[in-house]
């Protein structure tokens, strides 16, 4: 069995090559779409087999290395291309290939008729390939290959509709922001290689046990890694690219910018959890950044009118929740939220895509309203997603979010817990604002030109499957007071080394029940408030005033970066070129040339061609020599 695991990544790669090289020639959507989806489905099947294989093994030996080839070796640098199959990577692979497959199927309907159909599927397959390398890589460099690879696919797919300026701008912004994060990732690799002499995860962990290393080293390494995570997972300060990334087609937003790629930062912390656990400072930074991001993004989401931007800020906010979990050492809880979020956020994005599709590419909720009768399946599945994200029991979002809240509380971070609870309240509020404005009230669009319609089955069936998963997905992670937490049990062997370092927090059952009641109440009140305010569709804004405009303008972070980074950088480049290169260096070069040229021009005047002049020079020369001899 193990010898076939490499097919998990090879199949999507084959799909990419096929569609990339020949897709444009065939111009056959059926072949392209089928190959694109089936290759991902094939990886999903093999991943399931891999899952069954490792669950059949004893709990403490569920780690399999699949060696491929020797990638890079020189001197002390020896990096293999090898896959690490363990509960963590298998969980991630199941999400990537499973949700990925559903989104591919959906995209067959969504992208129908687009002239870049083959290109789209080629890039999507390439993305799956890169993402699987990211989660399966058994060393940091292979992970980085996937890390940059998904960044590339994100760039290509954000800029998919390349004949518009804003898509190109958004794609570049995403790539550049990610590159800033990757700068941190690369430096972290250098530090790790210096400290451990290897980039292989298992060797790093075994070295840890035999040597003592200063805490400050871990702090440096993990903070640099976290810089990488803030880029990829859109956290403060590098979060501004994600909302712009919505310029890409909606299946891309669902797959890359909600379900999978943006959670790579969370996965990376999970994979290197030991290193993070050894640096309390870094853990606190992760917690603080996650908390701040979750809150800030949720407040922005309230004031947005673009259906996809609301969901994008929602994603940023939910990622913040995941980082909060990581920050208190609740690694399996974080991955649990990655899983449930993949279900319900992919669902909501695809449902939003269905709305946009039915509304002839309208994305502004201010120009929607009353769609619930026109598109029933979309409405019901979207509503389901909204209920799930709000944290209503017994649906998946409730279990994972509530567990994060409980872990925050019991680790003693009461302020963070408080902010997280408020954020959960805001989440339900903005998401039901979205639902109300889109599906309830009177139509606010031009009914003579726009005729909303339900999407074809190829799009609604994935929606239904995802809705079912969002509803039942939570049962893999029941709270301890209710039953066994399957996913935690499954993942924990991976985190044992890290968890042995972090102090364990005692969970008080009665307090936990209180917390659950509090969070459910918060969600319920919030939904009620939101629906009451926006249901009629007469009111679009929750409130007004200066602060609201500030939220509408997304805290003007883009403008801030423009002023303090982009403009000075452009100024510097201009100065470097126009002043330093042209005037200073070339000035010196040309000046030297000019000096000799002028010298030549002056001295040339001595060459008059008149014999008498030369005679005078000769006599002067002889006199000079004589004078020298006499005076010596």
């Amino acid at each position: 069995m193990v010898e076939y695991f490499y097919l998990i990544t090879v199949l999507p790669l084959a799909g990419f090559l096929f569609n990339g090289l020949f897709g444009a020639k065939f111009k056959n959507e059926k072949i392209t779409g089928t190959i694109g989806s089936l290759t991902v489905f094939g990886s999903f099947v093999i991943t399931v087999l891999a899952y069954l294989h490792i669950t059949s093994l004893p709990e403490d030996s569920r780690t399999i290395i699949v060696p491929l080839f020797n990638w890079l070796s020189s001197g002390s640098l020896n990096i293999a291309a090898a896959y690490l199959v363990d509960p963590l990577s298998v969980t991630m692979c199941l999400i990537v290939t499973g949700v990925g497959f559903l989104i591919h199927v959906y995209a067959i309907g969504y992208m129908h008729g687009d002239k870049g159909f083959a290109r789209f599927f080629a890039f999507m397959n390439l993305f799956i390939f890169a993402m699987l390398n990211l989660v399966l890589g058994d060393n940091l460099l292979l992970m980085f290959l996937g890390w940059e690879g998904v960044g590339l696919c994100s760039y290509l797919l954000i800029g998919f509709f390349y004949d518009k300026k804003f898509t190109g701008d958004a794609a570049n912004k995403a790539f550049w922001m990610n590159r800033i994060g990757d700068f941190g990732f690369m430096l972290a690799m250098f530090f790790i290689f210096m400290t451990f002499g290897t980039l292989n995860f298992q060797q790093i962990f075994s070295t840890l046990q035999s040597t003592t290393i200063a805490t400050s080293t871990f702090t440096v390494i993990t903070l640099l890694l976290f810089l990488g995570a803030t880029g990829k997972s859109a956290q403060i300060p590098l979060f501004v690219w994600l909302p712009d990334a919505m310029a890409g087609p909606t299946p891309v937003s669902a797959l890359i910018h909600a379900a999978t790629m943006v959670t790579a930062g969370v996965y990376m912390i999970a994979r290197t959890s030991v290193l993070f656990a050894l640096s309390p400072i870094a853990m606190n930074v992760v917690l603080a950044v996650g908390c701040l991001t979750a809150f800030v993004a949720a407040t922005i989401a309230i004031a947005q009118n673009d259906i996809k931007k609301i969901l994008a800020y929602s994603t940023v906010s939910q990622l913040g929740f995941m980082f909060m979990a990581m920050g208190v050492g609740a690694f399996s809880t974080g991955i649990f939220h990655v899983t449930t979020h993949a279900f319900f956020k992919a669902l909501m994005f695809l449902a939003a895509g269905s709305v946009i599709h039915g509304m002839h590419n309208e994305q502004d909720v201010a120009k929607m309203g009353g769609l619930k009768d026109n598109m029933k399946t979309t409405f019901l599945t979207f509503l389901m997603g909204a209920i799930v994200i709000s944290g209503i029991p017994p649906f998946s979002g409730f279990f994972s979010k509530d567990e994060i809240l409980s872990k925050l509380f019991f680790s003693g971070n009461y302020i963070v817990f408080g902010i997280a609870l408020i954020t959960a309240f805001l989440t339900a509020f903005y998401v039901f604002r979205l639902i109300s404005l889109t599906f309830y009230g009177k139509p606010r669009y031009d009914e003579t030109h726009v005729h909303p319609h339900e999407s074809p089955a190829i799009m609604t069936i994935p929606l239904i499957i995802l809705a079912v998963l969002s509803v039942v997905g939570g049962f893999i992670g029941l709270p301890h007071i209710v039953g066994t937490n399957l996913i935690e049990h499954f993942l924990n062997p991976v985190f044992t080394p890290a968890l042995s370092i972090i102090p364990e927090h005692h969970i008080v059952a009665s307090t936990e029940i209180g917390l659950i009641i509090a969070s459910v109440l918060a969600a319920a009140i919030s939904i009620w408030l939101s629906v009451r305010t926006f249901k009629s569709g007469e009111k679009l804004d929750a409130f007004s005033g200066g602060y609201y405009n500030f939220l509408k303008d997304k805290y003007r972070v883009d403008e801030l970066y423009e002023a303090i980074i982009v403009k000075p950088l452009l100024w510097l480049t201009e100065q470097s070129y126009k002043i330093f290169d042209v005037k200073v260096i070339d000035g010196a070069v040309n000046g030297t040339a000019k000096f000799f040229n002028n010298l030549a021009i002056d001295w040339r005047k001595l060459q008059t061609g008149i014999v008498q002049d030369y005679a005078i020079f000769s006599i002067a020369g002889i006199l000079a020599i004589l004078l020298y001899i006499i005076l010596r």
């Binding site: 002390s76 460099l141 004949d163 518009k164 430096l187 250098f190 210096m194 126009k578 260096i585």
Partner: protein
């Protein structure tokens, strides 16, 4: 033939260039003939590769003939793992260039291809010479075809650019000639004879007094860093690159610049190891300045060709940093980066040439949105840009990563600041290349004149695909290439370390 295999390699393009002059004006024949000759040379270089023993760190296929008897100057050739990769790069780039630029030279066709083949022979000579005078002869021989290529087929500002290129490099190489004579003369007592045999000189040269060594090191070094070009001696490059015809720019970027970095490894390091150890930090400082400064200047460019030219300054900065680190990882990275830069920057110039031949402008602002009409051009150019940006899985990343991780852990530099600053180049290269890509290819196709730009034809596609094969190959399985030079590179480092140890023992 095995005995004179290197001579055959160097002189086949030179000798076979002569018939071109008798082809009169049969342009097509000239091109096909030149392509076949250069392809055959590449084939022959592969034959050399097949005979090469990569476990042997020493020079192989050494040929030695007395040249100037009284001064013990030899016609001395040899190849090791380091020169092997550069020879292969040279032999590969020429046929690809000829294929790629097929129609872009319209006047004095036979002279152009004659000079091109002559240039190829001279370049191979530079990488294979083991006698300093012979090396110097080939080094200077490069200037002649290059001067005419820029002078005859160059752009508007070619006279200024050509003079600048010529004087700049001439200034450096004259200092090198002085140093060669000085060194050979100085060590005559130790060797018992005057000789310019590199294999002899490197035994005694490290032990010359440091005051003299410093001057020799500076003279050799200046000549090399001008060629690289290292900041602040780089201003000849954008002018020469921009004015040269496409083929000239490709060869200049892909191979000529490597003469400088090759010279540093072969001569500066091995002849003057103690000076190298003392001043490696300076090389690293200027390398890092080059990385950042070159990238910043790139962002400000409005001319595509100039942008690519300045990107060379940035990329060559990485190589200098790698050499200054003096450990296997970084130096192997620097060597593979020389090959990478040759492939990706060579390809970038080729693509600028494709564009120029279609629209006769290099201004970025004259384009925009042309991906719609030239999808093949756009897709292939993206791969090449990504290779230059250093995307993992493609060649550029391997070189940059090895250089950076090596210099980070370098005992010689012993300072992380170089690497940390150098790594910002990774961010900046994405900025200038993707921004250029966006402004040229993406966005609305709003200029009518651009709507009729034809896409790449089969010949051009094949030429670019050949380069891309190696871009991917080195990115996915660099060991094919790294293993060839590993032994020789270790030997160079070992020689430097040995000299250092011996010198420390002598008070």
């Amino acid at each position: 033939m095995v005995n004179n295999i290197l001579t055959v390699l160097i002189f086949s393009p030179i000798v076979l260039s002569i018939p071109v002059l008798f082809f009169r004006d049969k342009e097509k024949l000239i091109k096909i003939y030149s392509f076949i000759v250069s392809a055959a040379v590449f084939g022959f270089s592969l034959y050399v590769l097949s005979l090469f023993n990569s476990a042997n760190a020493d020079f192989q296929f050494v040929e030695r003939y007395q040249w100037v008897k009284d001064f013990n100057i030899f016609y001395l050739l040899g190849i090791d793992g380091i020169s092997l990769l550069l020879v292969l790069l040279t032999a590969f780039i020429f046929p690809v260039t000829i294929l790629g630029v097929w129609g872009s030279v319209a006047t004095r066709v036979k002279e152009f291809y004659f000079l091109l083949l002559l240039l190829e022979g001279a370049l191979l000579g530079v990488f294979l010479s083991l006698d300093l005078i012979l090396f110097y002869v080939f080094w200077e021989l490069i200037l002649i075809p290059m001067y005419f290529i820029i002078g005859f087929w160059g752009g508007k500002n070619k006279y200024y650019a050509n003079l600048k290129f010529f004087l700049y490099t001439m200034f450096g190489s004259l200092l090198m000639l002085v140093a060669i004579i000085w060194l050979s003369n100085y060590v005559t007592p130790q060797l018992g004879k005057f000789t310019t045999d590199y294999l002899e000189l490197r035994k005694v040269s490290p032990y010359t007094p440091q005051t003299i060594q410093l001057w020799l090191f500076i003279f050799f070094g200046l000549s090399f860093v001008i060629k690289v070009p290292m900041f602040p001696f780089h201003t000849w490059l954008p002018d020469a690159h921009t004015e040269a015809p496409t083929a000239g720019s490709i060869i200049l970027a892909a191979v000529l610049l490597k003469m400088g970095t090759y010279g540093i490894i072969r001569f500066s390091m091995e002849l003057f190891p103690i000076m190298f150890i003392k001043y490696a930090w300076l090389l690293a400082v200027f390398g890092v300045i080059g990385i950042i400064y070159g990238a910043l200047v790139c962002i400000a460019q409005k001319d595509v060709k100039k942008l690519v030219a300045y990107s060379s300054v940035s990329h060559m900065g990485f190589i200098l940093l790698g050499l200054a680190a003096l450990n296997v990882e970084a130096m192997q990275g620097a060597l593979i980066q020389m090959v990478n830069h040759g492939l990706s920057t060579g390809a970038l110039f080729m693509f600028v040439g494709f564009l120029y031949d279609r629209r006769y402008t290099r201004e970025i602002a004259d384009y925009g949105g042309i991906l719609k009409v030239v999808p093949i051009f756009g897709s292939l150019l993206l791969v090449i840009c990504l290779s230059s940006i250093g995307l993992p899985g493609l060649n550029g990343f391997i070189g940059e990563f090895m250089i950076l991780i090596g210099s980070f852990n370098s005992a010689l530099l012993n300072n992380h600041t170089y690497t940390i600053l150098g790594t910002t180049g990774v961010v900046l290269s994405a900025v200038y290349l993707l921004w250029m890509y966006q402004r040229v290819l993406l966005g609305p196709l709003d200029k009518d004149i651009n709507k009729s730009i034809p896409d790449l034809n089969l010949r051009e596609t094949v030429a670019s695909a050949l380069i891309i094969i190696f871009i991917v190959w080195i990115g996915v399985y660099p060991n094919t290439f790294l293993s060839k030079s590993e032994a020789s590179m270790k030997k160079v480092i070992e020689n430097v370390e040995t000299a250092k140890r011996n010198l420390l023992r002598i008070p």
